[in-house]
Symmetry: C2
Subunit: 130 residues, 2 copies
């Protein structure tokens, strides 16, 4: 199934690219307004993930967040999003942390996906020293 260059995709990608954070569907929809349909946004995002253009992170609030792949490792042409995301409980921003992980697995185990999310307060929202 060959991909086509559509307006919806371009619009979604543009929003993702011009954001320094990972965005939820809700946030993307807010940016895009009525220009792109809800279901379409989801479909576009999933397609981007399949193509390794974007990576997804799950928060324990049960929402998916998507970020354009900028500094992701791509060893042997395979995508591995081996970094954490940080979500601020106060301002809600979800950012990619630079630190790359390597987790030792039991023998014979094979990794296909990685999802790491740390929640807390960013430097702007952190309460003063206790």
């Amino acid at each position: 199934m060959k991909r086509r260059n559509t307006q919806a995709q371009a619009a979604v990608l543009q929003v993702l690219k011009s954001s320094d954070r990972a965005l939820s569907h809700e946030q993307l929809q807010a940016e895009l307004g009525t220009k792109v349909d809800r279901a379409t946004i989801y479909r576009v995002l999933n397609r981007f993930c399949e193509d390794g253009l974007v990576h997804k992170a799950m928060d324990d609030d049960g929402k998916q967040y998507f970020a354009y792949c900028a500094g992701c490792d791509k060893p042997n042409n395979k995508h591995s999003h081996n970094h954490f995301h940080f979500k601020c409980r106060q301002c809600g921003k979800v950012e990619c942390l630079q630190h790359k992980m390597h987790i030792p697995l039991p023998a014979g185990y094979v990794v296909t996906d990685f999802n790491g999310m740390i929640s807390g307060y960013c430097n702007r929202c952190a309460p003063g020293e206790a």
Copy 2:
């Protein structure tokens, strides 16, 4: 609000304790049958989490998994579930990985929660060498 010792709680805890994996609501319900109500299971699990008896892990399938806290670090009486979970795409089991994480954060950032999930294939389900 003081806690009470109820049958529902005991039943849920017993299932969690006698499992070597993290369980979803669905799996717990299957074990418990009609003995405990759906909403009650969720409420019990959330209470356990609050009390640090159990920890929760989110998979990118959008489901929560719960595991009895056995080897969790508890520095300064605060619970920190700084380990990963591994979910097998084939057999579905979710297990706690022993490796403890320490992720360097930007200055001023404060951590409250940690959620790490790796998906792939366990040693029993991994396909033979490519």
